[in-house]
Symmetry: D4
Subunit: 227 residues, 8 copies
C-alpha cells in the first residue's frame, strides 16, 4: 500500500467530505470528529486492515464549499497542516449554485475559474517538501442521465477536473465512473437520496474508490495474523 507508518493524510472538500464533522478541520477517533462519511470509512478500513501502519487522518471538508471557498481557506486549513498526502474532492457546489440559486451570480463558479482554482491548490501543494502525493477525486453527481441539465454541466466540470489532475501528475480518481457503473444496477435513491450526499452505501463506494487508488488490500490482515 502507498501509505507509510506515521503518514498524515488530509481530505479537503465540501459537505460530501465534511459529513457533520466539526469545521473547518478536525481529526481523531472520538465523537464524530471525522464526520459520518467516506473519510471515517477510509479511517476505519485502514485501521482495521493495517494495524501496523500508524496514520493521521484529517477531515478538512466544509459544507457548501465551492472551489473558490476552498481555495480561500487552503492556506489555513490544508497547507498549514504539512500533510504527506492530500486528497481534494471539490466542485459539485460550483455547479449546483447555477441550479438551486440561479439568481446568485456571485456564488456561482465558472468552469474556467474552477480549473484555475484546482490548479492553484495543486501548485501550492507541490511546493511542500514533505508532500508524498496528491489525490484528486472527481466531484460526483449521482445521476447517469446526461440529458439532465445539471448532470451535463457537472460532466464538463468533471472533465476539467480530470484534465487538471492529470496534467499536474496527481493521482486522479474517477469516482463518477465508479458511481456510473453502480447506477446501472441500483438507482441513486439507494446510495444518495438527493444525488449528492451519500448514505452509508454511497460512502463505502467513495471510500473504496479512494482506497483502490492507494493500493489498499482488504485481505491484508490475513498475512499479518498468520505470518
Amino acid at each position: 500500500m502507498i501509505f507509510e507508518d506515521m503518514d498524515r493524510i488530509v481530505f479537503a472538500g465540501d459537505s460530501v467530505t465534511d459529513m457533520g464533522s466539526p469545521t473547518p478541520v478536525s481529526e481523531g477517533p472520538w465523537d464524530n470528529n471525522l464526520g459520518d462519511g467516506y473519510v471515517r470509512q477510509v479511517y476505519a478500513l485502514l485501521g482495521a486492515c493495517y494495524p501496523e501502519i500508524r496514520l493521521r487522518i484529517t477531515n478538512s471538508g466544509v459544507s457548501g464549499n465551492t472551489s473558490r471557498d476552498l481555495l480561500e481557506r487552503f492556506d489555513r486549513d490544508v497547507l498549514s497542516l504539512n500533510a504527506n498526502w492530500v486528497s481534494i474532492m471539490i466542485g459539485i457546489n460550483d455547479v449546483w449554485r447555477f441550479y438551486d440559486t440561479p439568481g446568485m451570480a456571485d456564488i456561482q463558479v465558472s468552469e474556467e475559474e474552477y480549473g484555475n482554482n484546482l490548479t492553484k491548490m495543486i501548485t501550492d501543494l507541490k511546493k511542500q517538501p514533505q508532500l508524498k502525493g496528491i489525490f484528486v477525486m472527481s466531484p460526483v453527481f449521482m445521476d447517469i442521465n446526461l440529458e439532465d441539465i445539471m448532470r451535463r454541466k457537472h460532466e464538463s466540470y468533471r472533465q476539467v477536473c480530470e484534465k487538471v489532475a492529470k496534467e499536474n501528475d496527481t493521482i486522479y480518481i474517477d469516482v463518477q465512473s465508479e458511481i456510473n457503473e453502480y447506477l446501472k444496477t441500483r438507482p441513486a435513491t439507494f446510495i444518495a437520496p438527493d444525488r449528492v450526499h451519500p448514505n452509508p452505501v454511497g460512502n463505502v463506494l467513495i471510500a473504496r474508490a479512494f482506497l483502490d487508488a492507494a493500493g489498499f488490500d482488504y485481505e491484508h490482515r490475513c498475512r499479518e495474523i498468520n505470518g
Copy 2:
C-alpha cells in the same frame, strides 16, 4: 370557484401532503398545523382571495405512507371527517420502496394493488352523502428523464392513478405534467432537492395545480374590493 361557504376539504396523502404537520390529522391556522407544504399554500391563497367563503381545510397526510398505509387509516383519518371535498395524492412511496429498500418486499406495493387501493378509497368516499367531489392528484417524481428506472416505474403508477381517477369520475389533476413542463426551464434542484419533497417554489406549483382544478381566480378580490 367550486368551493362553497362552510365546505370542508380534506387532503389525504404522504409526506408531500404532511410536510411537518401534526399527524395523523390536523387543522387550524395556528402553529404549523397545516404543515409547511402545498396544503398551507392552498389555505393561504384561498383565504386571501376569497374572504367571503369560509372553508375548513384539514391535513391528513402522514410521512412515509404508501397507498396501503393510507387505505388502512382511511376510515379513521378521512371518511370519519365527513368532508365535502377530499383530495388524494398518494403513490410515490409505493414506488420508492422498490428502490431505497429493495430487499423489503412486504412494504413495496405492486402496481395492481396500488390501483385497487385507490379504487377502494374512492368507492368508499362516494357512499358519503355530504361529499361534493373527489380530487385525485397524481404522485410526482420530479424528473423528466423517463430512462431513469424509478421515474419509469413511477410513470406506470401515475397512469394507473389517472385511469382509476377517470374511470371513477373524480377530478384528476396531472401534477406530474405541470412539473414536467416546469422542468423544461429549471431543474428539479430548484423545486425539490431530492426530487420528491418540494421546497417553497415546488409547493406553489402543486397548490396552483390544485387550485386551477377548483376554478380558483387569483384576481378574485378585485371584484370584491371594487364592487
Copy 3:
C-alpha cells in the same frame, strides 16, 4: 413584469419582513433563510410562475426595528448589497413604542423623524447606478377602527410614508388600504392575531400587494407551457 433576469431584490424592514429569518441579512431557498412571511411568499410565487427569470431575493428585515434602527444599519445591510430593486416596509415600531412602552421616550420615533429617516434611505438608494427602482410599502396596523388611538397615530405615519414615497418617485404600495378592504369581510384575527404579525393568509395579502405593483401575472406560466 417589472423584474428582469438576474435582478436582485432586497426587502428591508422589521419583524413583518424578517419573520424568523436569520438576521440581519439572509437569502437562499434553504432552511428558513427567507423567513416565514411575505418575502418567502414573493420568492415562491415568482419562482413558480416565472421560471425563466432568475432572481436573487434577500431578506433584510430585523425584528423590532424602527425607521431609526433601519437607517443605522442601512449602509451595511441594504446599500452594500447593490440591489437592483429595494423594497422598504418600516414604521409600525415607530408608532408601537408610544403604546407598549410609553415611558421609553428615546426609542419612540416622531412623525417628523420618521419622514426624515425614510427620505434619507431613499436618497441614498437613488445614488446607486445599478438601482432600477424602489418600492415603499406602507406599514400596516390591521385594524380599521380609526378611533383606536394607536391606529390613528399609525394612519398619520402612513400618510407621511405615502407622501415621502410619492415625492421621491418611488413605487408606493398602499398595503394598509388592501388590508382595510379585506377587513370589511374578515376581522384581523383571521389574518394577524396581534394586528401586526401576519399569519399565512396575511402574508399572501402583503405579497400579493407587492406583486401587483410589480406587474406579476399569476397565470403567466400558461403561456410558457402551452406556447
Copy 4:
C-alpha cells in the same frame, strides 16, 4: 374580606386563567403551578396582605377551552375538588372561533349554548353543600371599539354571561367594564398585545377586579402589624 381561614378557591377558565400552568388542574407555590397570570397575582396579593388566612388556590384553566369544553370537564376538574369558592371566566373562545376559524362550525359555540353551558355549571355547583359562593367573571376582549365585528359579538355573549350570573345569584364581576375604563387612558397594546392574553399589567387589572369583589383590602396588613 369574604374568604375565611382554610377556604379553597378554584379558578376555572381558558388560557387567560391557565397562563402556562400545568393542565388541567394544578396548585401550590412551586414552579409555575399557578401559571403566570391573574391567578398567581390573586394568590400573591392575598398571601402578602392576609397572612393569617390560610387559603388553597387552584388553577383549573385550560388553554383554548370554550364553555362547551369546560362543561365537559367540569365534573372532573371543578366539582370533584369540593371548593368553597369557584370563579368561572369563560367565553372568549366561544366567540373567537367564529373569527379565526370561521369554517369550523362544530367548534363554535352559539350564544344560546353559551348561556346554557354557564347555567349548567352554576346549577351543578349550587348543589354542593360546602360551597360558599360563585364568582362569574365576564370574558374580556380588550378593545373598546364596538364597531369591531368580534368585539360586538363578544359584547352579546358578555351580556348573556351577566344575565345568567345575576339570575343565578352569583357574584358577577364585570372585568370588561374595568378594562374599558382603562382603555380610555392606555391602548390594549399596553396590557394585552393580542387583545386577549394579558401581560403583567393586564393580569393585575383582572386580579384587582376579582379581589375588589371579594372585599380585599390592600392596606390590611397595617392593622395587623401595628395592632
Copy 5:
C-alpha cells in the same frame, strides 16, 4: 404619588432584584425582561393603577452581586442610564459569602467596605442633575432568629445600610422590618424557601414596601374611573 409622567426608575441589586431578567440591564414588558421578582410586581401595580403616568422601569440586578460587584459596574449599569430615581438593594451576598464559602476571603465584603461601597454609589448618584431621589432598600434575610449566626451578621450590615442611607438623605426602606412583622404569622418557608430568594408572595411584600415609600395608592384608579 412621588413619580411623575416620563420618569425613569432603575432598580440596582443582586439576584433578589434580578430574578431571571437578562443581565446586566434590561427593561420592557416583553418576555421576562423585568425578571420574575419584585421589579415586575412594581411595574405591574404602577401600570395597572396609574395608567396616566408613563414610567420607564429598568432592572439592573445581577445574580450573586456583592456591594463591591455592584460598585464596579455602577458607572456602566446605573449612572449611565441617567435615571430620575434609583433604588438600591444590596448586601445579602456581602454577608452570605462568609457562610457558604467561608474559605474564600477575597469575595467576602467586610462591614466597613460595605458601608463605603454604598456611600460611594449614593455620592455618585447625587451628582447627577436629572436625579429626583434615591431609594435604599435594606437587604433581607428572611429569618427572625437573631441567634442565627448569619442573621446576626446580616443585622449588623442592615444597620450600616440604614445609617448610610439616612446620613445621605436617601429614602430608606426597612424591608427587613416588614418581613420580620410578616414572619410573626407565617414562617420563611411560605415566602422564600431558602430565606433569600422570594416566591410570588415574597415579591409582593418587597414591592409593597417599595411602593409604600413612593406614596402608591392601590385604590387610585377609582378616582380616575369614576371621576
Copy 6:
C-alpha cells in the same frame, strides 16, 4: 461491619434520599441511578473501603413524599424488593406542608398519623424472613433555632420518629443531633441552602451518620491491603 456479602440494602424516603435518581426505584453504578445524595455517598464509601463485601444498594426515594405517600407505595417500592436491610428517612414533608401550603389540609400529615404510618411500615417489614435489620433515620430540618415555628413542629415529629423506632427495636439514627452539633460551627447555609436539601458536605454528614450506625470503618482497607 454489620453488612454481609451479597446483602441488599434499600433506602426509602423523600427528596433527601432521591436526589435526582430515577423514580421510584433505581440502582446500579451507571448514570445517576443512585441520585446525587447520601445514598450514592454510602455506596461509594462502602465500595471503596470494603471491596470484599458485595452489596446491592437501592434508592427508593421519591421527591415530595410524606410518610403517607411512602406508605402507599411501600408494598411496590420497598417490601417487594425483599431487602436484607431497609433504611427509612421520612417526615420532613409531613411537617413542611403545614408551612409552605398552609391551606392544603389534605396533604398535611398529623403527628399521630405520622407515627402510625411509620409503625405500619416497620411492622410490615418485620414480617419478612430475609430481613436482617431496619434503620430509621430521623428527618432533618437544618436549623438549631427551636423558636422557629417549623423547627419546633419538626422536633415533635422527630420525637415521634425516635419513639416509634425504639419501641419497635429498629436501629434509630439521630441525624438531627449530628446536624445540630455541626451547626454549632457552621450555619445551615454551608450544608443545605434551604435547610432541607443537602449539598455535598451535607450528604457526607448524613451518609456518615448512617455508616456509623452500621459499624463502618473508614480505615478498613488498610488491614485488607497490608494483611
Copy 7:
C-alpha cells in the same frame, strides 16, 4: 457469497449490536436505523459490493441485554421476523454483571444458564422452514490478558458459546480470536476504549469477521463492472 437475492438477515444481540439504533427492532437506510456499529457496516459493505443482491438487514440489538433478556424477547423480536438468516452475538453482559454490579445476583447469568439460553434460541430458530442458516458470533472482551478476572470468566463463556454453536451446526464466528490477533499490534484503546463498545475501527473488525464467514468478496464489483 452465501446470501441470495431478497434474503432477510436479522442481527440479535446487546449494545454492541444495537449501537444507538431504535430499540428493540429497526431497519432501513434512513436516519440511524441500523445503529452506528457493525450492523451498519455490514449493510454498507454488502450494498456497495453486491448491488445485484437485494437484502433486508434488521438490527435487533438492545443495550444491556444478557442472554436471558434476549431469550425473553426472542419470540417477538427475532422469531416473528421470519428471517432467512439470524446472527446472534450475546453474552458479554452475562459476564459483566458479575463485575460492575457484583451485589446484584439476580441479573447475573451463570455459565450453565448462558448455554441453555443460547441452545433454546437456536433450537427455536431451527424449527422455522424459511431459515437458511444461523450465525453465532462469540461475545468479545477486548483484552488479551487472560489473568484479568473478567477476561478469564469471559473466556469460559466464550467456550460455552463455541460449544453450543458447533454442536448445533450453526456457523460459529470466533470474533474474539480475530480481536486477539489484532490486539497483538494495537491495544484495546485503539478499537474499543472500554474494551466492550467498539469505535469505527472495531466495528469494521467485527463486520469483517461476519462477512468472511458469509463468503463476502470485497473485490466483487470488479467482475460486475467489467463483465
Copy 8:
C-alpha cells in the same frame, strides 16, 4: 491535619480531576463547580469532618490535558491563584495518545518531556512565598496487567513522576499502588469502566489516597462534638 484555617488548595490535572467542572478553573459549592470527581469528594469529606477549618478548594483540571498542555496554562490557571497547596495529577494522556491516536506524533509526550514538564511546574511553584506544599499524585491506569502495552508504558511514566516528585521534595502520592491493591479484589470495571475515568467508588479511592497524605482523620468530628 496538614491544612490550616483559610488555606487555599488547587487541584491541577486532566479529565480525572476535571470531571465535568466548568473549565479551566472553577470553585464553590454551587452547581457542579467542583466537578463530579475526587475533588468534590475531598471538599465534602473535609467540610463534613473539619467544620472548624475553612478551606478554599479549586478545580483546575481540563479534560484531555497532557503535561504539555497543563504546563502551557500553568501560569494562568495555577500559579496566578497563589495557592497554599497545589496538587498535580497529570500524565495519563501523555501515554494514552500513543495508543488511541498512534499517528498523531505531535500530541504525544515523551517520557523525557513528561519529566521536564513536571519539574518545571514544581520549580515554578516553589518560588511562591505563600506556598506551603505540593502534592504530586501519580497518574493512574486502572489495570494490574503489566503485560498490557499501555499499562507498561504508563508504569514507566509513573516512575518518572515518582522520581521527579521525590527529588523535588514534594508529597508524592502513589495512587496507582492504592488502585493496584484494590484491583486484587475487584476488577477495574467496578471502579472505572474505561480504566481511566473513575466512577463514584473510584473517586473515593483517589480522594482517600489524597486525604491520607494530608493527615485527614475521618473520625475527627467526634472530638469536636464531644469536646
